[in-house]
């Protein structure tokens, strides 16, 4: 691509205005820094979840292995799922939401910068809280879905489930606070001219995800509150002997759980919808259809939850309704797949690493989608449910879909975040090892599943035809780990040695590429005026005609050159840094952790920790709310 060669030479240091040092990170309210914090934390937990997966695959590599005990295995698969969903993929998406939404809509920050910091700290402390369970030897062991009554006190007497119940509530607060923030940001902070149908596709997907979050998370919060009350206070929500419905948890959980699937995949769809047009040199095919398909997926996503429950015996009508809605949701999803293909069709395709991952998503997600449609048929699902076939399905969707999209997004946006490009050579190794490793790991699971291998068993006997498939899966996992290691090396090394990126290394079309990389603290020295969906491309044609700068500006975009000038120099008001969101988040997690002592029957300690945490939280909240966001000007 010519742009990299002809672009003026930028030095990344020049544009980076802001202090460094620990305190500046603890008190930051800048969406880019918070996005960076999200990115590093969630990559760390992605590695933790990957190591947990590695132990699982080591244990299952052959029959009757003893790497893990049955109890340790239960903790391992529960924490693998919980970590990957709540501590890795969701916050990786949140990292992109934070970093990109304001840049894509032409804003200087999110609507509530301090609430944004609060969301991050709650996530970090919640993640630490959840993983602290390992150090007291009581990691959650009831599966990421935590089915009650299995998780009630009678069957799970340890602290394990308490950590899980409280940890998920804490993480839910983080997601909800962030979602209110992003909804407000997207509704209210778009640059002049950026109407809803000119928003970049990633922002659209992010927007829809926020609605899924605010509508789905309250439901699991209530399910968790019931479980917590059952465990701590002796209520009977999941007490079958008292007449409770054994399916109450499953319904509440999956009313949350299925929208959660779209919470995990739509951000990756959004990233893919940015990458494919950029490297095909074409606008996204059928933009309005993509937008409506996203909304339709989200809408239908609330009406398919019981397809996770065909095996419980809901009866013909329930099975039929949920089977049909599940088939329906495949339509808007298929529309997206075809729109990506048609975007590439006839385009001038450049196979950069980001593009490879994006195309990888299109292919691998389709495989996961097709096995998903198979489960929509209740009779077929009865054969597949609780077998490794299901494990194969959702890993094609979550690894082949979400993670491939996120990796693509990382290659695509790393230059915007750091000012330097990731190595394409290492990137290519990373992609091919991931692609091969992922298929070696998860494709054989279709076979072991159809041969009857159940999920969540810690070992198995030889002679059932499962050994070869399991061994291949375990080898695939090792390849995935090598690929991820190469990614980490690339990530680390490119930070200092990568090629300098400049504003727009890929020649992409959306607003975030009009500003320096990394962006200055105020993002846009001048709020842009938007006249199209791909303002940078519309301007480019003028640029080639060597029109004057003024005429280029009238076309809708304006390239900002790194000046090294601070917000103060330019007279742009910026929010003050503050430690209060961190204190408030920490106090809230202390308050939650006090509940653990109720389980230990240490009421004085429990009450003092809970009340102490609540008091500190209230005080810091008041101090926060009563302090203005920025100095008067």
């Amino acid at each position: 691509m010519a742009t990299t060669a002809t672009a003026p030479v930028y030095t990344p240091v020049e544009s980076y205005v802001g202090e460094s040092g620990l305190w500046s990170w603890l008190t930051t309210v800048d969406h880019k820094r918070i996005g960076t914090l999200y990115l590093f934390t969630s990559l760390f937990f992605f590695i933790v979840g990957g190591l947990e997966a590695g132990l699982i695959r080591w244990q299952l590599a052959g029959p009757n292995k003893h790497v893990l005990s049955a109890e340790a295995y239960n903790q391992m698969f529960t924490m693998h799922g919980t970590t990957m969903i709540f501590l890795a993929i969701m916050p990786l998406s949140a990292a992109f939401f934070n970093y990109l939404i304001p840049l894509q809509i032409g804003a200087r920050d999110v609507a509530f910068p301090r609430l944004n910091a609060f969301s991050y700290w709650v996530y970090l402390f919640g993640a630490i809280f959840m993983n602290a369970s390992w150090f007291v030897g009581a990691a959650p062991n009831g599966g990421w879905f935590g089915y009650a009554p299995l998780t009630t006190m009678q069957f799970s007497p340890g602290l394990n489930i308490d950590f899980w119940v409280l940890g998920l509530q804490i993480l839910g607060i983080s997601s909800l606070a962030a979602a209110f923030n992003f909804i407000t940001t997207i509704v209210n902070m778009r640059a002049p001219g950026m109407n809803l149908m000119r928003m970049p596709m990633f922002t659209w997907n992010a927007f829809v995800v926020q609605f899924l979050l605010i509508l789905a998370f309250p439901v699991i919060t209530i399910a968790l509150v019931f479980l917590q009350f059952d465990r701590f206070f002796g209520t009977q929500f999941y007490e079958i002997a008292a007449g409770a419905d054994p399916l109450l948890w499953q319904h509440l959980f999956w009313v949350f759980g299925h929208p959660e699937v779209y919470i995990l995949i739509l951000p990756a769809f959004g990233l893919t919808s940015e990458i494919i047009p950029a490297f095909s040199r074409k606008p996204i095919f059928g933009y309005p259809v993509m937008v409506y398909a996203t909304m339709l997926i989200a809408f239908l996503g609330f009406g398919v939850w019981a397809h996770h429950m065909f095996a419980v015996g809901m009866g013909a009508i329930g099975d039929t309704v949920f089977g049909v809605t599940t088939l329906l949701i495949a339509i808007p999803t298929g529309v997206k797949i075809f729109n990506w293909i048609f975007t590439m069709w006839g385009g001038s395709i450049q196979f950069s690493t980001a593009m490879k991952f994006a195309i990888g998503l299109v292919g691998l997600f389709t495989i996961g989608g097709i096995s998903g449609v198979m489960h929509a048929s209740p009779p077929a699902d009865l054969q597949q449910t609780d077998t490794y076939f299901i494990v194969a399905h959702f890993h094609y969707v979550l690894f082949g879909g979400s993670m491939m999209g996120i990796f693509g997004g990382l290659y695509f946006y790393y230059p915007k975040i750091t000012g330097r490009l990731l190595s394409e050579k290492l990137g290519s190794w990373h992609f091919w090892l991931t692609f091969i490793g992922m298929n070696l790991t998860f494709f054989p699971m279709h076979y072991s599943g159809l041969l009857g291998m159940p999920r969540r068993i810690y070992t198995y006997e030889a002679g059932q035809g499962w050994e070869t498939f399991n061994l291949i899966s375990s080898i695939g996992t090792a390849i995935l780990m090598v690929g991820t290691l190469i990614f980490l090396i690339n990530f680390w090394r490119s930070f200092r040695t990568g090629a300098v990126a400049g504003n727009n290394p890929w020649g992409a079309g959306t607003l975030e590429w009009s500003i320096p990389s990394p962006p200055p603290e105020y993002n846009f020295a001048r709020i842009p005026r938007v006249t199209s969906r791909y303002p940078m491309w519309d301007m480019r044609s003028h640029e080639h005609a060597e029109l004057s700068h003024a005429q280029a500006e009238e076309s809708g975009a304006h390239i900002e050159v790194a000046t090294g000038r601070s917000a103060r120099d330019l007279g742009i008001p910026m929010p003050n840094q503050t430690i209060k969101p961190l204190i408030c988040a920490g106090a809230m997690v202390i308050m939650f952790s006090g509940l653990l002592f109720i389980h230990e029957n240490n009421m004085p300690l429990a009450l003092s920790v809970i009340l102490g945490g609540a008091l500190l939280m209230t005080l810091s909240l008041y101090a926060w709310v009563l302090t203005p966001l920025e100095d008067a000007h």
Binding site: A179, I214, F229, Q236, G243
Partner: protein, 229 residues
């Protein structure tokens, strides 16, 4: 022309308080509170659905609307819900919404001259904020009375499915009322200290939206839990 605007526009923004106007013309907080209320709807929907699903499934009394006679219950138990008392507390909560409307109107019109006693009364934001908080607290008092009398009649959160789902649902609502009362008292304290005026109307409006929402939820609870047998 447009080139010069690059520099000029930053100065213009500075002169106008430094922030570009919002896309909708509404304040950020107004959008956020509506999103929050939407989310809260799902919270209460989950609680109310669970209550309704568990209605009539309790194996032992006391029951909400039916007497429980031996041998199911050791001693005969009356229907436990006290509809006349709860009707009174519902009326109190509805009146608090009226007081909230008057409080917001008083803050919005603080700058207008008041001539008659009636105008001064209606324009007294401290009075109406206090009345709203007082009526909310009265509602909480009714709830405390109700919970205590239920416990004396043998219904706790552990007794049966009705007790678990009833106390959790109404307890969650009560917690929301409590948070609302604290919010109102905070506004009242600010009003007493420096006086709330039209520029604070937005912040009072946010509290009002929350307060009315909590009221509306109670109307749903009162209808579905108390009135429908």
């Amino acid at each position: 022309m447009a080139h010069a605007a690059t520099i000029d526009s930053t100065h213009d923004e500075h002169a106008h308080g430094g922030h570009p106007p919002t896309s909708t013309g509404l304040d950020h907080k107004k959008i956020a509170i509506w999103a929050f209320i939407g989310s809260e709807c799902m919270l209460f929907a989950s609680l109310i659905s669970t209550y309704l699903i568990y209605k009539g499934r309790s194996r032992v009394g006391p029951y909400p609307h039916e007497a429980c006679l031996p041998p199911v219950c050791a001693t005969a138990l009356k229907p436990i819900l006290n509809i006349p008392v709860t009707s009174a507390s519902t009326f109190v909560l509805l009146m608090s919404s009226l007081a909230m409307v008057l409080a917001l109107a008083a803050v919005e019109t603080k700058d207008q001259p008041k001539h008659t006693f009636g105008e001064r009364l209606l324009g007294n934001s401290k009075l109406w904020l206090f009345m709203t908080a007082l009526l909310g607290t009265t509602f909480l008092g009714f709830q405390a009375f109700e919970f205590t009398s239920f416990v004396h009649e043998g219904l706790t959160i552990r007794t049966n499915l009705f007790g678990s789902s009833f106390f959790t649902l109404t307890g969650f609502h009560g917690a929301h009322v409590t948070a609302g009362v604290l919010w109102l008292l905070t506004l009242l304290a600010i009003d007493a200290r420096r006086g709330l005026g039209p520029k604070d109307a937005l912040n009072v409006d946010l509290a009002a939206l929350y307060w009315h929402f909590v009221d509306v939820v109670w109307i749903a609870i009162f209808t579905l839990v108390y009135l429908i047998k």
